[in-house]
């Protein structure tokens, strides 16, 4: 590049070479610390409602739903669940109240009974069914303690139905309300959405539609009482709900004095709370945010809707008490007010959610960090890769100018042999491509371990000289920074974790022009053990466990392998690309680094 061609390596101060390692690691650590600093009240912002049309719905409530009415509905639902004809019971109840109800066969037999989605549409008098709001209550909800265990979502279904009945024939409704009761959680929801939008050619036809769905709410209440609401907003591949929607729900919950949490972490915002406590809890929320978003799977049925640009979050009824004085569970009346206020706010909305933020990280329910702020630490973390690649690039000129007499204009004439480099890259990519298919067939863990350790021997032994090594470094650094750049815009959390993994790899691989055999051996050992992607994954899992529990726990290897297996089994269901990214970019880069660094022949 002519613009840069003036910058030759001799322009770089000599001291820079000496302190390169210190500079890179310093920047890396600065980035990490900067990320943790996001929790500070100076950096984070307080939430606010950006869309004015949402506010009138927050003011007063108009519906009165008696507790007896809900108990009556819950009783009928319970008998329905007992007799295994819940679909018919719900449909009958909808029809009795003059709401059109339909069933959709999703055809997956976990036992021998075919499963059915039920949905009803409360038609609004004011509009010609062009827009709608959706309320989702999965028939079964995962319990709080054991995610594998499902319980009947009686409370959620009963409230969804009661709200639907109450808002039916209300003259102010201008958007239809779809009441959806998916049978097999995410799978059922996905089948229903595929049919609604007909995005899948095999999808069955639905009997009725209600225009374009604007936004909604999912209710998961495995217990029949609850003390606080856990707001779940993680979407697929790091997608997030519009912040305005979450703020609306938080505002309504606070108005009705219901404690709201993110990831089960409650942050006390009152002034007499110790500042340290606030910081610790906020940091926990922030880290959990990043750790869970990085997986790319959603923590509720709402994730499927975000894919279709339907803003939605899941309200989960949690049994955790967050105030010492809170002795009784949340009143049904208060909860109904929240849902009513939410629906009336949305009903008032003239446009789709487009204001406020789509890229943010929650610190707690009232504070968040926007994209403009949280990108800075990632920039610091990724900066060493860019600087290093620039330095290597500049050194090419000096080395090449000594070899060939003159470099004319744009034509770069580096006397490097490209073919072994590209063959090596293709080899590593092909090898990783094979890896992507393995998790579908076999248990991931065993296979990965074997391949990771065997890979150096399976592949052709790689030899390169020092000069080629520089080129290699240059290419891997560029691939790495391009990957980070793309990921940071798509799924920031994943980009952050990827950077945390790749940067140490680069550091060790890049600064190893070590002559002593012992240092070389130690580094190689470190590289293959501690910087192994799998080890990093385990470390990540363990850290997430600790932060989620809030106290120290011992690493549980069985749990890790179990979680990994369930993740790999379900990731196709969610339309996520996390595994693809890991297998097709991060593993190849790691392999390349390893093989190029330790295959040098002097």
């Amino acid at each position: 590049m002519p613009l840069l061609s003036n910058l030759l390596s001799r322009d770089i101060p000599k001291n820079f070479y000496k302190f390169q390692f210190q500079l890179y690691s310093g920047l890396f650590l600065l980035g990490l610390l900067g990320f943790l600093y996001l929790t500070s009240p100076i950096v984070s912002r307080r939430t606010y409602l950006s869309e004015n049309a949402l506010s009138p719905g927050l003011v007063s409530s108009d519906l009165y739903i008696s507790v007896e009415h809900i108990r009556n509905i819950m009783g009928r639902l319970r008998t329905g669940f007992k007799n295994n004809d819940i679909a018919d019971v719900i449909q009958l109840m909808l029809n009795e109240n003059g709401i059109e109800a339909y069933k959709q066969d999703i055809g997956r037999n976990s036992t021998d009974k075919p499963e059915e989605n039920i949905y009803g549409i409360v038609r609004a008098p004011r509009l010609a069914s062009t827009e709608s709001i959706i309320l989702v209550a999965p028939l079964y909800a995962r319990t709080q303690t054991k995610p594998q265990q499902n319980k009947a979502n009686v409370f959620g279904i009963a409230h969804t139905l009661a709200i639907g009945f109450a808002l039916h024939r209300k003259p102010y409704m201008s958007k239809d309300i779809i009441l959806l009761f998916p049978a097999a959680q995410e799978y059922g929801t996905r089948v229903w959405l595929d049919a609604y939008y007909n995005s899948n050619p095999q999808a069955s036809l639905l009997d009725a539609h209600a225009g374009s769905i604007q936004a909604g709410l999912a209710l998961e209440f495995p217990y029949e009482k609850f003390y606080s609401i856990d707001l779940r907003h993680n979407g697929i591949n790091g997608q997030l709900t519009n912040l305005d929607l979450i703020n609306t729900v938080v505002h309504l919950c606070e108005k009705n004095s219901i404690a709201t949490t993110f990831y089960g972490v409650y942050v006390e915002l009152s002034t007499n709370e110790a500042f340290m406590n606030y910081i610790i809890q906020s940091t926990r929320t922030l880290l959990l945010n990043v750790f869970t978003l990085a997986t790319g799977i959603s923590n509720g049925v709402h994730g499927q809707f975000l894919r279709y640009r339907i803003e939605m979050i899941t309200l989960f009824g949690s049994l955790d008490k967050h105030h010492e004085y809170q002795s009784s569970p949340v009143a049904m009346r208060a909860f109904d007010d929240v849902i009513e206020g939410f629906i009336r706010s949305l009903n008032n909305l003239l446009e789709r959610f487009h204001q406020s933020f789509f890229f943010y990280l929650h610190i707690n329910r009232r504070n968040f960090v926007s994209i403009a702020t949280y990108m800075v630490p990632l920039g610091f973390i990724a900066l060493p890769a860019l600087i290093r690649s620039l330095v290597i690039y500049m050194s090419f000129f000096t080395s090449s100018s000594t070899n060939s007499a003159a470099t004319h204009g744009r034509t770069m004439k580096f006397d490097a042999e490209y073919s072994p480099i590209f063959i090596e890259i293709f080899q590593c990519l092909a090898f990783s491509y094979v890896l992507t298919w393995i998790p579908l067939k076999l248990s991931l863990l065993g296979v990965c371990l074997i391949t990771m350790l065997l890979s150096p021997f399976i592949l052709r032994r790689f030899r390169s000289n020092v000069h080629q090594f520089d080129h290699f470094q240059f290419i891997t650094l560029l691939i790495g920074s391009a990957l980070l750049g793309c990921l940071s815009l798509l799924n920031f959390s994943m980009a952050l974790l990827t950077a945390c993994f790749l940067m140490p790899c680069y550091l060790i691989a890049g600064v190893i022009k070590l002559d002593h055999w012992f240092i070389k051996f130690t580094c190689r050992f470190l590289f293959i053990t501690f910087l192994n992607p799998l080890v990093f994954l385990a470390l990540y899992h363990y850290l997430a466990q600790i932060i989620m529990a809030g106290t120290f726990v011992f690493p549980d290897f069985a749990q890790f392998s179990n979680d990994l297996d369930t993740y790999c089994a379900s990731y196709h269901l969610y339309n996520t690309w996390t595994v693809d990214v890991v297998c097709l970019t991060i593993v190849p880069i790691w392999l390349l680094l390893y093989r190029s660094t330790f295959g040098i022949q002097f």
Partner: protein
């Protein structure tokens, strides 16, 4: 002096027959006074008259018997000139629906002589609204239809309406051939004038961008003598819809002022009195205003024609009461008022209650009906407001009905499903590709014989539809494709012409029509103020003839007359229906307008920074030049000195030369 209206009024031999108005007369009013009031009323309503009567009229300040006689003569003359054949019908059709709603349709039909549209004479318009006649005459319109609707008619639950309408505004007009102006400019001015009249934003429809000319779907409604019937080319037809339009009281008020019995204030006579309380009328699930003008035959031989102006207001109101399966309503609960007085201008004022639910529901209606008729298997009870016993009394209707528990529901559901139901929805994932699917479901009875459907779709240009993706399949079996009998497709042009698709399909089965479309990325100034609301795709229109022996048919309008009296009296209905599907709201790719400043600044900076470098890289070749020899400082000073000297020399020469030239000039 009061004579009841009868059918014989339109016999031509009523030259000397004086038809008095039946005013609700306070006792103090003398006959002369009454007549005078009548005269003013006519003068005010109809504008300039053919003779000098109005001029004379204003002079009549004294009540002399001579003058009285004179006025009578004048009145008789007016009637002789214009109004022997004029007829005005008021009807209210009520149908309780199985969902607990009730359908009310107020119909006002005016039939007048077509002479009022002739331009060379000054007219007496009598019952016909002058504004409409003016608009129609000046734009050379032969017939038109306009409807303003809020809400959606649910065909699957409510059956067929008497006349259907799409959500928002719909308008079509046939223009007369052989006029001086071309059709496009006449359509433009017609739509503007009508929009101004009805306070609706019809002016958005004027250009070709949102207007189309369907081939098969909207044939002329006029019934003309056989001699003058000729095939009319669809270039004289303009059709447009505005699905975004919101209908409100500001549309109702000008609309109802076109009725003959609507006075100023809120003291309307006849069934128009039910329109007094406008906000009540909008507290409904479906609300549709309509106006149609066309020509019809005067008699069965069709030797001459008449103009028919039909205006209708259809509302569907939720009438369920707090008790389960129990409905009740009264005129006061629905309209906020009762029918206080009859409109004496009307020749017919009937209220029909369609009791098609009587098999499953037990009805309790007061007062007692005058008589009942049977349309097919459905009993219809009729109240005649012109009946002698109702004179000068307030008429109100109370109705409550209850579902009988004994009838099994499943059986009933099947029988009451309408012959044909349309359901349309948008498909697709993302903001670039989409599609539209339309289900047309026929019920079991209709499937017995073949039905011909005309499907019409007008899609704005920013949804690019692809004809090669058009697929018509059976609903039950999506592998059997159906070939349409006729297909007319006019591809749209960006910013000029909408896409227009028309299919004629003959089928015995329920069908599914689907095609795909691509969304256009609009220019930034083409977005509406609320771009994130979405863009509407107007309703699809399905026109068909239902077989007349179908039991599940609802009362439809007959093609002969908009007045229901006729369709009820004829044994078999014509079975012509026009169904409108849902209109769709689709999101186009929308830039983030909420922070244009950031976007513009960032974009411009990036372009500006990148441009210089990229331009240099692509156009110039960089080479290492020769190094310049180093010039000592003294040498440079020397050079400078020489340059200064040379410059001074040149300056001196120039001055010298100009002086010389001046001197030559002087000499």
């Amino acid at each position: 002096m009061k004579i009841l209206f009868n059918e014989f009024i339109f016999s031509k031999s009523c030259d000397l027959f004086i038809r008095p108005y039946i005013f609700d007369k306070p006792d103090s009013l003398t006959d002369e006074k009454l007549n005078r009031q009548l005269q003013y009323d006519i003068a005010a309503r109809q504008g300039p008259m053919r003779n000098l009567s109005s001029k004379r009229n204003y002079e009549t300040d004294m009540y002399s018997s001579k003058l009285n006689c004179y006025i009578f003569l004048v009145i008789s003359f007016i009637y002789h000139c214009s109004s022997q054949e004029d007829k005005y019908n008021e009807e209210l059709y009520i149908r309780p629906l199985s969902t607990g709603h009730t359908y009310f349709n107020l119909l006002f039909t005016t039939v007048v002589s077509p002479d009022i549209l002739k331009s060379n004479i000054i007219h007496h318009y009598h019952l016909f609204p002058k504004v409409i006649a003016d608009i129609v005459r000046s734009n050379g319109v032969s017939e038109f239809h306009v409807s303003l609707t809020q809400g959606l008619w649910r065909y699957d639950h409510w059956g067929m309406p008497i006349v259907g309408a799409p959500p928002g505004a719909e308008i079509w007009a046939w223009f007369k051939p052989n006029e001086q102006q071309d059709v496009t400019s006449r359509w433009k001015s017609f739509v503007h004038e009508l929009g101004g009249l009805l306070c609706a934003s019809l002016n958005f429809l004027d250009s070709n961008v949102s207007t189309s000319s369907p081939n098969y779907s909207f044939r002329p409604q006029s019934i003309l003598p056989v001699s003058s019937t000729s095939y009319q080319d669809n270039s004289f037809l303009r059709y447009a819809v505005l699905p975004r339009e919101i209908v409100c009281t500001e549309n109702l008020t000008p609309w109802k002022k076109l009725l003959p019995c609507v006075a100023g204030g809120s003291n309307h006579k006849g069934l128009a009195g039910l329109l007094d309380n406008a906000p009540k009328l909008y507290n409904s699930v479906y609300h549709s205003l309509r106006m149609d003008l066309r020509q019809i035959c005067t008699n069965t031989e069709c030797t001459s024609t008449q103009l028919e102006l039909s205006m209708a207001l259809a509302i569907v109101v939720d009438t369920t009461s707090s008790k389960p399966d129990h409905n009740e309503w009264t005129f006061r609960s629905i309209f906020g008022s009762n029918v206080a007085q009859t409109c004496s201008l009307s020749s017919l004022a009937n209220i029909y209650v369609d009791l098609q639910l009587s098999q499953t529901h037990s009805f309790n209606i007061s007062p007692e009906p005058d008589y009942s008729i049977k349309q097919g298997s459905k009993p219809i009870i009729v109240y005649d407001l012109h009946d002698e016993k109702r004179k000068n009394t307030t008429f109100s209707l109370n109705c409550n009905y209850k579902k009988q528990q004994t009838v099994s529901t499943d059986n009933q559901e099947d029988r009451s499903s309408p012959s044909i139901v349309v359901h349309r929805y948008a498909t697709g994932y993302g903001v670039r590709d989409g599609g539209i699917k339309t289900m047309i479901k026929l019920n079991e009875e209709q499937k017995q014989d073949q039905i011909t459907l005309v499907y019409f779709e007008q899609i704005p240009w920013y949804f690019r539809i692809f004809l090669h993706t058009l697929k018509i399949t059976m609903l039950d079996n999506n592998r059997t494709e159906i070939k349409p009998d006729h297909l007319s497709y006019i591809p749209g042009k960006d910013r000029e012409l909408p896409y227009q698709l028309e299919l004629v399909i003959t089928t015995k089965q329920s069908i599914l029509i689907s095609f795909e479309l691509e969304m256009v990325f609009l220019k930034w100034n083409e977005f509406p103020p609320d771009p994130n609301h979405g863009f509407y795709i107007p309703s699809a229109v399905i026109s068909t003839m239902l077989s007349s022996n179908n039991k599940s048919n609802n009362i439809l309008r007959s093609l002969q007359s908009y007045s229901l009296n006729q369709s009820l009296s004829s044994a078999a209905s014509d079975g012509f229906v026009r169904l409108y599907s849902e209109s769709l709201l689709v999101n186009l790719p929308t830039p983030d307008f909420s922070m244009p400043f950031n976007v513009i600044c960032l974009g411009c900076t990036a372009v500006a920074l990148a441009f210089g470098g990229l331009h240099n890289l692509t156009t110039k070749e960089f080479t290492f030049g020769e190094k310049r020899p180093r010039i000592p400082f003294r040498q440079r000073l020397e050079d400078l000195r020489f340059r200064v000297i040379a410059a001074r020399h040149a300056l001196a020469q120039r001055v010298f030369r100009s002086n010389q030239q001046q001197r030559e000039h002087v000499e």
